[in-house]
């Protein structure tokens, strides 16, 4: 039962990540390989706040989201002015820089040893400590993220995003500030990703840089694309499939070392297969056919 709850919590965390990335990839047509970095920023922000200043959980959550969003703007403003490929490389660069800071600035982030003993969240005097408690909290945050991204994409703002995705020049010719819209949506994506980081850090109570690598970013991209980019439910479906499927490997009895490789090969292979035969993913509305 605990195992099942654990998997559901993971699905929740990755749903938040993929819903937020979908705003960029699926609705605006910009691919970011830095999502795990923002996820990490959220996790480290909450951990450092809680460990150093013992500040309350909700304050930390909000601060983590703001920190990540601001960082998103700092990365987005220079790199979103330039063409697609360079933007992707810029996000890759940012991902590596963040990892490098988490891994090397030992006095601040704990370096490779990570940060242990992150306290459990206390919300209005109630301590969230059980698996069920965490699941409820994550479901609430997931619903919030889903609602938020739904609001965004159905608003006039979201309509402009889709216009940018389909034809940037066209959107520009209607007087839309394309770079401005991109930066705003990038900030939203970064901020929402931090929520997932906050939940991961407080749930596991220990974080180290290995959870926030380029590979993790690619995993989140795979979730969005296999589930279906540009649809609200696609990323959720993708998270369910890609988090739960490798768990089945456990029951076949593969040794742990091989299982990690097989898990990655599974989503890498799925990514290639979907690109070849179904670039829209399971339920997606956008097949990157710009």
């Amino acid at each position: 039962m605990t195992y099942l709850l654990h998997i559901l919590i993971y699905i929740g965390i990755f749903s938040i990540l993929s819903i937020s990335l979908n705003l960029l990839v699926g609705y605006t047509g910009i691919l970011s390989i830095a999502h795990a970095a923002f996820y990490g920023v959220g996790a480290y922000a909450v951990a450092l706040m809680a460990l150093q200043f013992h500040s309350p959980f909700l304050v930390n959550l909000v601060l983590a989201v703001i920190a990540s969003g601001v960082l998103g703007a700092l990365v987005g403003i220079p790199s979103l002015r330039i063409k697609d490929d360079y933007f992707i490389i810029a996000t890759f660069a940012f991902q590596v820089i963040v990892f490098s800071i988490l891994n090397n600035w030992v006095s601040f982030t704990g370096g490779p040893m990570g940060l242990p003993g992150i306290p459990q969240p206390v919300i209005f005097g109630i301590r969230v400590s059980s698996h069920v408690g965490f699941l409820i909290l994550i479901v609430i945050l997931c619903v919030f993220t889903f609602w938020f991204s739904g609001r965004v994409v159905k608003s006039p703002f979201g309509r402009v995003l889709r216009a940018i995705r389909e034809d940037e020049v066209f959107a520009q010719s209607f007087g839309k500030n394309v770079a401005g819209f991109k930066v705003k949506v990038f900030m939203m994506g970064a901020g929402l990703a931090a929520i997932a980081g906050v939940m991961y850090a407080t749930y596991i109570s220990f974080i180290d840089p290995t959870s926030f690598t380029v590979m993790e970013s690619i995993f989140i991209i795979s979730i969005v694309i296999i589930g279906g980019a540009g649809s609200l439910w696609g990323p959720v479906l993708g998270a369910v499939v890609l988090v739960a499927l490798p768990e089945l490997l456990r029951f076949i009895g593969l040794p742990n070392a091989v299982a990690a490789n097989i898990r990655q090969m599974l989503y890498g292979g799925l990514l290639v297969a979907f690109m070849l035969w179904r670039p829209r993913g399971f339920v997606g509305k956008y097949g990157f056919n710009k």
Partner: protein, 292 residues
């Protein structure tokens, strides 16, 4: 001290040049970001390890086989994934995502077959380096520098003079127009993959000769190559060479003041500066943002 740093910078630059030129060749002609190039690079080293250390072939036979297989691996990707995608008129983004998938699958295959620990193809005792202008350099480093420079010059000449090189530049310039003039663009692209991947294989072997190999080594080196390409300017081999040398210089002069684990961060911060100030690179032409 400063001489040693400059020599290290030159050495790093020579490694970056090779991977940067091989990447930019493919990028310039196919117009998509071939991430899986990183695993082609790694495969060169592991194929050498397989044939030399595990199967006991002499180095002078193992290395050509490994380069050939790396080239074949690149062509295999082109034929099995990229070409079908191109035939469906897939966007560069789709090709990029497919190449990310390929990278993950192949990198994990190498991990599973050979294990995640460091493997070595060096043999014999470590000799003390020669003294050149007050800086130490090992014979193998001299071999690496020479190989890299010779190969890059050959590629540059070949692109300029040979028929296939001209066809490649034609396809890079305008694939449709090239087709109309009777150039088989799929064939040209296949050749591009063969040569680019072969070069990447060579780069992988050279790096492994210097600092051994791990299954994940490719991505980092590839990204350094990409940074060099952006600094130098896409589509210009002298530019790329300049970019690679500058990158090596910046990284190694940086190490003078701060610790070496920040080298990656230095490289990518330079990248950010370039993207901000001069996205077309030193010698590249200004990138046209849109074409109607």
């Amino acid at each position: 001290m400063i001489n040693q740093l400059l020599l290290n910078a030159l050495f790093a630059g020579c490694i970056y040049i090779l991977i940067a030129v091989s990447f930019s060749l493919i990028y310039h002609i196919t117009r998509f970001f071939h991430f899986a190039h990183a695993v082609v690079f790694t495969s060169g080293a592991y194929f050498t390890y397989l044939f030399h250390k595990l199967l006991g072939l002499p180095v002078c036979i193992a290395i050509p086989i490994a380069i050939g297989l790396a080239a074949l691996l690149g062509c295999g990707m082109e034929v099995s994934v990229y070409k079908p995608l191109r035939k469906k008129n897939a966007s560069p983004m789709v090709l990029l995502l497919a190449s990310l998938g390929l990278y993950i699958v192949l990198q994990n295959t190498i991990s599973m077959v050979f294990g995640d620990d460091t493997k070595s193809i060096r043999s014999g005792v470590v000799k003390e380096g020669l003294l050149v202008f007050g800086a130490r350099i090992t014979p193998i480093q001299i071999v690496i520098i020479c190989t890299s420079i010779v190969l890059v010059v050959l590629v540059a000449l070949w692109l300029k003079k040979s028929k296939m090189g001209k066809a490649m530049r034609a396809v890079a310039n305008d694939a449709e127009l090239a087709e109309i003039s009777g150039i088989d663009s799929h064939n040209v692209i296949l050749w591009t993959f063969a040569i680019g991947s072969g070069l990447a294989g060579v780069a992988g072997i050279l790096v492994a000769l210097d600092v051994d190999m791990t299954p994940t080594m490719g991505m980092n080196v590839l990204m350094m190559g990409v940074v060099a390409v952006i600094i130098g300017g896409v589509g210009s081999i002298p530019g790329v060479a300049l970019g690679a040398l500058l990158l090596g210089l910046a990284q190694h002069l940086g190490v003078w003041k701060i610790s070496s684990q920040w080298q990656d961060a230095i490289a990518f911060i330079i990248l950010f500066v370039f993207l901000l100030v001069r996205p077309q690179g030193f010698l590249g032409r200004k990138v046209k943002k849109v074409s109607v």
